[in-house]
């Protein structure tokens, strides 16, 4: 007999632009949840990396926004929505090593241009929607 499926656990985070100290909160929380679910360490690693990079991108590059994480028994869905300024050329942004981060940000150890490619590599499903002057939307699904 299989147990009845239940609704996912929803975690919501408001991301403030420039709030470096707050970075990693969502990743840390979701990591704990996955340990509580008894997930494999490799899955935990992928979810942690994907969530952290998403958080940092919104903190560094966007005006701020929201991250919603849906944890169900067979996958994790990470939904990121910010209010701009958007990415003019997504294909370019997805390239390894491409970054528009300022020197100051680089000095802080960010801006290696590996965030988006890593997010994609870590996910089983990855989708990004953006454009100049509009918000950026990223959806990632990682199967458990």
């Amino acid at each position: 007999m299989t147990t009845e499926k239940i609704r996912p656990l929803v975690l919501e985070y408001t991301i403030v632009s420039g709030d470096f100290a707050g970075g990693g909160k969502a990743a840390s929380d979701v990591k704990r949840c996955l340990s509580q679910l008894g997930c494999q360490s490799e899955v935990i690693r992928r979810v942690a990396v994907a969530t952290y990079e998403a958080e940092m991108n919104m903190i560094i590059h966007s005006f701020g926004g929201k991250i919603t994480i849906y944890i169900s028994s067979d996958n994790i869905r990470i939904l990121c929505e910010d209010t701009g300024p958007g990415i003019p050329d997504i294909e370019l942004a997805m390239q390894e090593g491409y970054s528009t981060a300022s020197d100051k940000i680089r000095e802080m150890g960010f801006g290696a241009g590996m965030g988006l490619p890593n997010m994609k590599n870590c996910s089983d499903f990855f989708c990004i929607d953006s454009g100049e002057g509009q918000g950026t939307k990223v959806e990632m699904v990682i199967n458990l």
Binding site: I6, S35, Q36, S41, E53
Partner: protein
């Protein structure tokens, strides 16, 4: 599955003050019936609670000097941190000679083994044997912390035996070959700065059975030594280790010994946790070697040491300068260690945080946990006996606590009941009628 724990509670001394529960890095302590209770599966024997307890109610179970009598030939292997416990006028040579005078037949410095282990690790790192950043396994407490809290980092751990274990093996081999002793006649005793090392001997992660036969409490040995220091004259020449090996006693010492140029040394449970969080999120990938130690300052800050860790650290630094950090010949290390240097046991995660074996049920409990948490006051006051509100919520969904363990919830409930009682007491049965009143 349970394993031996060195950290234990002296129930008599415990006041149930809730100090320790706040600092435990794995939330392994609860207060029940006015006394601290250690949850065995969660405890990593880091000894943080030993350091924090204001009533000295937490202690480390160690072996005593009496157990020396079980062996024909008694060997002492002091941790390098022992050298930092004495004033700088008391030389390493004098400490080692005084150890012999306590009733040992032979002394072999763990620092000497540390030099060999450093060479071996450096060689293996160069060959790219470990996932970067390679994480030191010198501190058993932080390795157990990885097992329970950072499973994604298990692959990065350098699974090469500790200097203590290597020292025990080398000395037993030497005594068998050179003096013809049988292995069971030789008793090897480690002088430990911490509980974690005791556990690593009694329940090793690396091997089926440790070659160390007994672990002595550093502060107890210190008390004996300081009153029985031998005269400077007539001392044997015992010291072999130089600053590279001795340096393992402090944070950054192992990195120094490895001659790693691109390393990070982090000490203290809290700091170690922060760095590992970042590591698990994919940061710090540019680092070659990560040294983590549960105790502030490194092993000189161990819970069984006597000297202030800053002072001890300074002394170790002086010794490093005095004896230098010359590499004595890396080939030597390969010759001596290659047969046995690697762990034989696989380092596995320990899923103590898992809420249920059935994932669907675990998810259900997680949802319930979040709901309960929303209704708790969020003060993390510890009065319920759990370290914070989230931990209480977790205990509740595990069936190991109740909402009314929270004094605020209890008070709320009592208030409601009291109001009910007032309301009820104002109600008068019609048969009695108002006139009577």
């Amino acid at each position: 599955m349970g394993y031996f724990h060195s950290v234990t509670l002296d129930k008599e001394k415990c006041k149930g003050c809730t100090t320790c529960i706040k600092y435990c890095p794995t939330e392994a302590i609860r207060v029940r019936d006015g006394k601290a209770v250690i949850i065995d599966e969660r405890c990593i024997d880091c000894g943080e609670c030993i350091r924090r307890c204001p009533h000295q109610a937490k202690m480390a179970v160690t072996d005593t000097l009496d157990s020396l009598d079980n062996f024909k030939y008694k060997v002492v292997i002091p941790a390098p941190s022992l050298y930092g416990q004495f004033k700088k006028e008391i030389t390493v040579e004098r400490i080692l000679n005084s150890l012999l005078a306590l009733g040992f037949d032979y002394v072999f410095e763990v620092a000497q083994a540390a030099e060999l282990v450093s060479d071996f690790i450096a060689g293996e790192l160069q060959k790219g044997k470990f996932k970067r950043p390679a994480i030191s396994s010198a501190c058993p407490a932080v390795i157990r912390l990885i097992q329970v809290r950072f499973p994604a980092l298990l692959d990065n751990v350098i699974t090469i035996l500790s200097p203590m274990e290597v020292a025990a093996r080398l000395v037993k081999k030497r005594l068998q070959e050179e003096k013809g002793f049988k292995v069971e006649e030789i008793g090897v005793f480690f002088i430990s700065p911490c509980a974690a090392k005791v556990t690593s001997v009694k329940s090793p992660l690396s091997t089926e059975k440790s070659y160390v036969d007994g672990v002595l409490n550093m502060s107890a040995v210190y008390a004996k030594l300081i009153n029985n220091l031998v005269d400077e004259e007539n001392m044997h020449l015992l010291q072999k280790a130089n600053g590279r090996g001795i340096g393992w006693a402090i944070s950054g010492g192992e990195s120094l010994a490895l001659k790693s140029e691109n390393y990070l040394a982090v000490d203290g449970n809290e700091n170690v946790i922060k760095i590992r969080e970042l590591l698990e999120m994919g940061k710090l990938q540019d680092i070659d070697f990560l040294e983590c130690q549960a105790c502030l300052g490194g092993c000189v800050g161990g819970p069984l040491t006597v000297e202030n860790s800053f002072i001890a650290k300074k002394r170790i630094k002086l010794l490093i300068d005095k004896y230098g950090t010359k590499v004595k010949g890396p080939d030597n290390a390969y010759q001596k260690l290659s047969d046995f240097a690697y762990w034989v046991k696989k380092l596995e995660p320990r899923e103590i945080l898992k809420l249920d074996d059935d994932r669907e049920k675990a998810l259900g409990k997680m949802i319930k946990l979040e709901e309960i948490l929303k209704n708790l006051p969020g003060l993390d006051c510890g009065s319920c006996g759990a370290p914070n509100c989230r931990a209480l919520a977790e205990d509740i969904v595990r069936g190991k606590g109740s909402e009314f363990d929270c004094i605020f919830k209890l008070r709320e409930r009592i208030k409601v009941l009291a109001e009910h009682m007032v309301e009820l007491s104002n109600k008068v049965p019609p048969s009695i009628g108002k006139k009577l009143g």
